[in-house]
């Protein structure tokens, strides 16, 4: 050893030199390192072990602190490990545990060296090898070295035994079969009188149980003993973690442990243990009221503490309680709210979560108000956290917490205006979703959308673009609720819209199209009404109701009230009528209703805006001015949409200017074409859009004889090297809808069908017949009235039949409030689909390794026959079916337990005995394999016998019972009655 000390000082100096040198380098550190690395590469090839290990030591240092690669030196590491000197070996093992991993190819070369060191008489060498193995063990290493580890598990040297326990976790992880050999000894260490061993063993079981708690239920008595007896806080914390897992599987266990845990909680002075008790109670023992009450008292202590750590943990514990005992949160409301303005962002975040947990339908508006005020004051990051959690809480489960949607929609508008708001996407989704699901809120929605749209300042904020896009879509789709469509049109076409991205501008333009159609329709309808009323001047009111009742059927009373004022154009008109009307509208049903819908509300806006010739022609001019430049835009979406509108205006203009000046007599004939065009477009746009279930596409049956893949193959042949645009900004269906519009425009004259979707479908069918090869089936039935990308894509996947179904559902549900319209402020109907709207959660399957491991553990604990190693190795179906059997056994347990209670007086001994007998068979197996261990084995058995002398009598009996194989099976599934 004298020589090594000289060498050690020598190499230490060398590493010291490097470190000192590095510390002197203010600049050029990398040059220094690369020079040092050059030296290392040279030195490490040296045959002198001292030089070699010194070089490796330096390399390890660089790897650990400077993150330099050392995988190239793997073979040298193996060589240094093989050195006979401890000092060198130490360097080698450190290097190996730092740099080796499953992919290291020289790994197998160290198997023999590890075995040699594991059986060394020098306990430090053994512990080095164990350390290293705990970091790098692979399947092969673990398999080959399991016998040695088994021996070390009962070593008389504490240092070695402790580390052997520590290494078990890794060995079980990579080589589940080791359980059969080592598990029993591991359990014995659980009962060791030495707290060091218990601590290490409990740590291992805590990790094992966190992956698969079910397998360790039979060990509950041992854990319970530790929980009651141990004085070591580390051990107690770990045992409590195990119980937190176990009691979820075995409720009767909870009854037993709740008392000692409460005791620990009350007695301990250590905050860590106290917190662990609190956490165990709130997570796993939440149904024990008195325990929870105690825990909440402790949580309160944590909350009012000045230490931010305790405060944070208190909040965290409270948020776990919140799901089952909301009163605990409400009790500490002030502290929680105050924590929203804490200096620590983490604490703020926790308290925000808690505040959101307190939200109910009665206080949602107050809490949101408070939070929005906080959001205005706080930094951008936390502001967005607040907004995000408001959105997700309010939107959860189809807005179940919201009763007053008018309020919520205006809150959304307000949130959009908060300067730091970056939640555009969420707000966008909710705007549209609410629009589609909640009919009653649409007037307010349009008002909020209008306020957002006309504010030119908002256009400059890129985070708000998505919200604006939703606002534009809403105002176009539900334009009939707008108080002033002209103003809306101006907002949609204002010059600053050029700041928006093309896809959002496209939404703007299409919404402008919808608004235009609405205005024109209202205008023509007004003309018609006036014309017809002037004809029958004798009985004014009669004439009007006649002309209207041609189209309008059952809602006589509703329309009459609005028509009467309609003709008294000289003011004095009650402004509340429009809103009343629009409230009535959603209660109607069917296509008929849609027509009525448009008409009545056009009446409503008619009085206010009076669609005169001037206003209409101004409108047309405005559109032409704004969209003219876009018709040559490079953005295909913009160009296409702009041209659509311009073409449409062209068509209308030919008819309107002439007709405007002509007398009443020619009016109807001349304008017939124009108004028909507009009627058709109007019908197209007024078709209701509903939410689409996520699973809608799955429900579409694949037509017979449709070979999707075949078609695509053909396409590939034809297109050859043309690359298909995979991430284009528009969907496949969009150009289609364009085409449809074009088609319906061209075929106006020969219009027979009033239902646009049927008509376009038939046209499409023809088109498809010709070009069918290039179309997927699902796009054919989309409706031209939608162009908003998300909605459109959903629709695309849909099927006409499905659409109809949805519509039926919609109308059915919208009928409901009609039956009881006299509620003061009923919660509006929120349309939700029966299935499919929820995202299904895929259950996480444990990977095969864990499966194997728990299977093996169950085998050992429940005393099933051992399966030959070879068959267990492959994660085959056999093992999985085996596992299923086990689970079944587990489920059956309670009843068996009850039976056992009846006929067995001391069944708690039954289980350990079955395990013991299991172990004995293992011992036998091992004896076959390595006869050399024979003596040791026996010796150990004797030792055990001595240790457990107090239980000897019972065990004897048990052993006798266990002798027969039948008995083993019978007792296999017994969980200690101790639980009862």
């Amino acid at each position: 050893m004298a020589g090594s000390s000289i060498m050690e000082t020598l190499f230490q100096r060398t590493l010291d030199d490097i470190i000192k040198g590095l510390r002197l380098q203010l600049i050029g550190e990398s040059a220094f390192i690369s020079k040092a690395m050059e030296e290392i590469r040279r030195e490490i090839k040296s045959t002198d072990p001292h030089t070699k290990s010194t070089a490796l030591q330096k390399l390890t240092y660089f790897n650990s602190v400077h993150g330099l690669d050392m995988s190239w030196a793997a073979f040298h590491v193996v060589e240094v490990i093989g050195s006979s000197r401890f000092a060198h070996k130490k360097i080698g093992y450190l290097a190996a545990s730092q740099s080796f991993h499953d992919g290291t190819d020289v790994m197998l070369l160290i198997t023999n060296q590890l075995r040699k060191d594991l059986t060394s008489t020098n306990e430090f060498e053994v512990s080095l090898a164990l350390e290293c193995l705990s970091r790098i063990a692979t399947l092969d290493l673990a398999r080959d070295l399991t016998p040695e580890i088994f021996t070390l598990l009962s070593s008389s040297k504490n240092l070695v035994r402790k580390k052997a326990i520590g290494v078990i976790l890794r060995v079980f992880g990579v080589y589940p079969d080791a359980v059969r050999v080592c598990f029993k000894r591991l359990v014995e260490n659980l009962e060791s009188p030495d707290p060091q061993m218990v601590s290490a063993t409990v740590g291992v079981f805590c990790e094992l149980a966190s992956k698969d708690p079910g397998s360790y239920l039979p060990l509950a008595p041992e854990f319970y003993k530790i929980l009651v007896d141990s004085k070591n806080n580390w051990i107690l914390i770990k045992v409590m973690k195990i119980f937190a897992k176990l009691v979820q599987l075995e409720p009767r266990l909870a009854k037993r442990v709740v008392e000692p845990i409460c005791e620990h909680m009350a007695r301990t002075g250590a905050k860590s243990l106290m917190f662990e008790c609190v956490r165990t109670i709130v997570t796993s023992l939440a149904e024990y009221e008195s325990a929870v009450k105690l825990a909440v008292v402790k949580i309160r202590e944590l909350l009012i503490d000045d230490d931010p750590n305790l405060k944070y943990l208190g909040l965290q514990a409270l948020s776990i309680v919140a799901s089952k005992h909301l009163w605990a949160v409400l009790e500490n409301k002030e502290v929680v709210i105050k924590s929203l303005s804490d200096a620590d962002p983490n604490i703020k975040l926790e308290s925000l979560r808690l505040v959101m947990a307190m939200v109910s339908d009665s206080n949602v508006s107050e809490i949101s108000r408070v939070l929005v005020n906080y959001a205005l004051k706080s930094d951008p990051e936390f502001c967005n956290e607040i907004l995000g959690s408001i959105l997700s809480t309010c939107g959860r489960n189809f807005y179940e917490k919201i009763i007053d949607f008018d309020w919520y929609v205006s809150l959304l508008g307000e949130m959009s205006r908060i300067p730091h708001c970056q939640k555009g996407e969420e707000v966008e989704n909710q705007f549209i979703d609410i629009g589609m699901r909640v009919k009653d809120v649409r007037p307010e929605l349009v008002r909020v959308a209008r306020d957002l749209l006309i504010d030119p300042a908002l256009l400059g904020n890129p985070f708000l673009n998505r919200i604006l896009s939703a606002a534009a879509w809403v105002s176009g789709e539900y334009v009939e609720f707008s108080k002033n469509p002209f103003e809306l049109m101006e907002a949609l076409l204002q010059p600053r819209t050029s700041l928006l991205s093309p896809s959002i501008r496209a939404v703007y333009i299409h919404s402008a199209f919808k608004v235009l159609i609405f205005c024109l329709h209202s205008y023509f309808f007004q003309r018609k009404t006036i014309a017809s009323s002037s004809l029958s001047s004798n009985d004014l009111a009669q004439g009007v109701s006649d002309s209207v009742s041609v189209r309008e059927s059952p809602k006589g009373s509703g329309s009459a009230t609005c028509e009467a004022p309609a003709n008294e154009l000289d003011g004095g008109f009650n402004p509340r009528i429009p809103s009343q009307l629009s409230k009535d509208i959603p209660t109607g049903n069917g296509d008929d209703m849609i027509v009525t819908h448009g008409q009545t509300s056009s009446f409503a806006s008619l009085e206010k805006n009076s669609f005169t010739e001037d206003s209409i022609s101004n409108l047309l001019n405005l559109i032409e001015m704004a969209l003219g430049p876009l018709s040559v835009s490079h953005e295909i979406e913009l160009q296409e949409r702009a041209r659509n509108i311009l073409g449409f205006i062209e068509l209308i203009k030919q008819e309107i200017p002439g007709s405007l000046d002509q007398g009443e007599g020619n009016f109807e004939r001349e304008q017939l074409k124009a108004s028909e065009v507009i009627n058709v477009m109007r019908d197209a746009f007024s078709k209701e859009l509903g939410p689409v279930s996520i699973s809608a596409q799955e429900r579409v049956p694949v037509p017979d004889g449709l070979m999707l893949n075949e078609n695509l193959c053909d396409l590939e042949k034809i297109c050859g090297d043309v690359q298909l645009p995979s991430t284009s900004s528009f969907s496949l269906g969009t150009p289609h809808s364009k085409e449809k519009i074009g088609v319906s425009l061209l075929n106006l004259q020969s219009k027979e069908e009033s239902e646009p979707s049927t008509e376009s479908t038939s046209l499409l069918a023809e088109h498809r017949k010709r070009h069918g090869l290039y179309y997927l089936s699902s796009e054919k039935n989309e409706i031209s009235s939608t162009d908003y990308p998300p909605a459109n894509e959903m629709k695309l996947q849909d099927d006409l039949h499905d659409d109809a179904e949805d519509l039926v559902k919609l109308t059915e549900q919208s009928l409901v409030p009609k039956k009881k319209p006299n509620h003061a402020k009923p919660r509006p109907v929120v349309v939700r689909l029966d299935e499919g709207d929820e995202v299904s959660i895929v259950a996480k399957k444990p990977d095969s390794k864990d499966d194997l491991l728990s299977g093996a553990v169950r085998d050992v604990l429940f005393g099933n026959e051992a399966i030959p190693t070879s068959s267990r190795r492959n994660p085959s179906d056999k093992s999985s079916s085996k596992r299923k059997g086990k689970e079944k056994v587990n489920i059956d347990l309670p009843s068996e337990l009850k039976e056992n209670l009846g006929d067995e007086e001391k069944p708690d001994l039954g289980n350990p005995s079955s395990r013991r007998s299991k172990h004995r068979t293992h011992g036998k197996e091992r004896r076959h394999r390595s006869p050399g261990k024979n003596d040791e084995e026996r010796e150990e058995n004797v030792q055990k016998e001595k240790q457990k002398s107090s239980h000897r009598h019972g065990r004897h009996k048990a052993r006798q019972r266990a002798d027969g194989p039948l008995n083993v099976v019978a007792q296999a599934a017994v969980i200690p009655d101790f639980l009862l």
Binding site: D69, F86, Q196, S199, E207, I237, K271, S272
Partner: protein, 143 residues
């Protein structure tokens, strides 16, 4: 695995010791250390010592110029980890006598050795200072 990694970083953000209990490539380590150091060193004394990062927690504590950062699973007991950090510092203090950053730099191996005595596979296996230090002292004596 309870403890995933233990880092010692000085206040300039330079790593002084890094011990990982699961294998990460050098790039992953570098990225991880960068992210964590950025996150934790920006926090002040009045803020709590727990930071959520990716899918685990970091418990950290500052001693003079050195930050001790421990990455743990989510259900690990934060306060116990703080105590563990303190135990580690006390142990080093007993061995080196008034331990400082330089001690760890120049005796990295010993620091690793102490950690290995205390933690295996991410489980804390030893919490007694004398038990941790006795093998090291023995080795010092024999060499």
């Amino acid at each position: 695995m309870g403890i995933r990694f233990i880092l010692m970083v000085n206040k300039q953000g330079q790593t002084r010791l890094a011990q990982y209990y699961e294998y990460l490539t050098l790039e992953e380590r570098r990225a991880l250390e960068g992210e964590i150091v950025r996150k934790c060193l920006a926090r002040n004394e009045q803020q709590c010592s727990f930071v959520e990062h990716r899918n685990y927690k970091i418990v950290y504590r500052r001693y003079a110029s050195l930050f001790f950062l421990v990455g743990v699973d989510n259900d690990e007991n934060e306060l116990a980890i703080l105590e563990f950090i303190h135990l580690l510092v006390e142990t080093m203090d007993r061995h080196f006598g008034n331990v400082c950053e330089l001690d760890i730099m120049f005796h990295l191996e010993k620091a690793h050795f102490m950690l290995e005595e205390m933690v295996m596979n991410g489980c804390i296996v030893e919490t007694s200072k004398s038990n941790i230090l006795s093998p090291i002292q023995l080795m010092d004596k024999t060499s």
